[in-house]
Point group: C2
Chain length 336, copies 2
């Protein structure tokens, strides 16, 4: 197996040096702007001239965001997701990924093989999306806390921001929503028969795809306002409000729902659509700009669909069969 | 108190939004290259034209690196140290600090006031050393894991690296060594009478000073090889070996020992000198270059003292009263 001489050992038995050696194959070589990677006190990175550096940091916690377990597929999924959630924040700025840094706090009893599988998933996600695993830090901890910090770069004139939307602007979302929340609901509630689409829902939860290309296509088409939907459609839509755009209305029938979700939960699908963890993008722009962005995103293979508009009303409302109501109180809040 | 309306609440009771509001006064305003700070999906930073970006990440873990406790002074010290250890890595590259990002994984039962005190220490260290607290991420966790990622910048031609030392080069160290290890030894073993110097030792452990100015002065004087002593003098000296410089000898009598340490531990002080956590710099350069660097560092108020030299011998040796022996097996190893 990939951990070589450390196979079967715990991280305490192997020690930090053996662990670093086992993970070296997964780290990015120097080059592509990375002047100095793992192995010195800090990394050196040369961003493109004139670009702004974009920085984001996220953690996955054992027992909160993932279960401990040494099975290869599960740990590789955790690695993928750890990087993907940070890359989704870069997508939310229309940035291009650069180096990523991991701070892994691990129980000394963790098998080295779990860390190797984790790095396999991290490296797969990095390769799929053009990021570079550039180094990081290990420490011992009572429960695993995995933190990724990703750097990227963007022309500041093209960066997506949360502020600046205006009444009358179209709201649009990439891809499909509700798959990750459906996977969580199925995991929690069970089902007598496996619903159609369940495998795809689980993939949305375990291996989210950061919408980097769609974001850059939308930015190139003139979109300047947006974010990624990590905490849920309705909760994140509220974060685009401000100034004259005090509210927005979302047409429930226009939400691009993950296949099978409304069939499995005919009463609850609007809440599941706002459940979060899909890591799609929510964008706002004048309708003509959004039409051009949608054409560009569609050409790149990720649909961008108008689901509503910003207005001067009161907060986030959902229109169901023509009747407006407050959006469901769905979505993730930390510490609650 | 500083936490305002959240006084006395736990982070679970307050929720993430109240917590973020309580911490806002400690965050850096936009400006000085920080184009977009906390509150969007990611931060935007504009490093000086032509500079390389330097990145480092470190974690402090409750129960491993610090004790839980709500007392103001203790939590402020943890905040100071969390940033200082990352800034020391920037010093080890001769870099200038930029924005810092925190990923705080906290037990839901933590008082909001502890987090506010933590940020007080972070902000003090940032202000003292020219870093900017630019944002970050909160998550719930069974035990607190605090991760800081610091960005900085450096002219790549002036960056300090670990590789490149040559036999005959002088080895030199900033400041004084052994204070932090003495504080730990005193905490563990106790003492019938408080030793002279103990208060200063504890300050070295709780509020380390990153040697940013001394590093830049040495780099400007031509020093190109060095690192910060985080794991201990002997362990970190071994990291400068490579190529023709297969060894080094350190003159025990030349080590600038923290005041009071050799008096309190006449038998053990060479081990305490290698105990780590002082966050001084260990530099290597041709003797004439080092003499110029020492003059520059002294002028800046942080002495730089030659303690030995690189050679083609076998590993790190300590010369005591003219007799060479292998360096004591002192210093910190993770997971052991």
């Amino acid at each position: 197996m990939a951990a070589g001489g450390a196979a079967g050992a715990t991280v305490a038995e192997a020690g930090e040096l053996v662990l670093i050696e086992a993970l070296r194959p997964y780290l990015a070589p120097e080059g592509a702007g990375l002047e100095l990677g793992a192995g010195d006190d800090a990394a050196l990175w040369r961003p493109p001239a004139g670009a702004n550096v974009v920085v984001t940091t996220d953690s996955l916690v054992e027992g909160v965001h993932f279960r401990a377990g040494a099975e290869e597929a599960a740990m590789a999924d955790v690695g993928w997701k750890l990087l993907a959630v940070s890359l989704s924040d870069l997508a939310a700025m229309a940035a291009t990924p650069g180096p990523a840094f991991l701070a892994l706090s691990l129980p000394p009893s963790w098998p080295v093989s779990s860390v190797v599988y984790l790095y396999g998933g991290l490296a797969d996600c990095a390769a799929a999306h053009g990021a570079q695993l550039a180094g990081g830090n290990f420490s011992a901890a009572p429960a695993a806390v995995l933190t990724s910090t990703c750097l990227g770069y963007v022309d500041p004139a093209l960066a997506l921001r949360r502020a600046g939307g205006e009444p009358g602007w179209a709201l649009a979302v990439t891809g499909t929503l509700g798959g990750a929340a459906a996977a969580l609901a199925l995991e929690r509630d069970g089902a007598p028969v496996e619903p159609a689409g369940a495998a795809a829902w689980r993939a949305r939860l375990s291996r989210p795809e950061p919408r980097l290309e769609a974001a850059r296509a939308a930015a190139a088409a003139g979109v300047r306002v947006g974010l990624d939907i990590s905490d849920g459609l309705y909760r994140d839509a509220a974060r685009l409000l401000g100034g004259a755009a005090t509210g927005c209305v979302i047409d429930a029938g226009a939400i691009p729902l993950e296949a099978g979700v409304s069939e499995a939960w005919p009463e609850r699908w609007t809440a599941l659509a706002g459940g979060g963890e899909d890591y799609e993008l929510l964008l706002a722009a004048p309708p003509a700009v959004m039409a051009g962005a949608a054409a560009a995103a569609d050409a790149g293979g990720v649909p961008l669909r108008v689901i509503g508009e910003l207005d001067s009303g009161d907060g986030v409302r959902l229109a169901v069969d023509g009747t407006e109501r407050p959006a469901p109180p769905a979505g993730y809040e930390h510490f609650r």
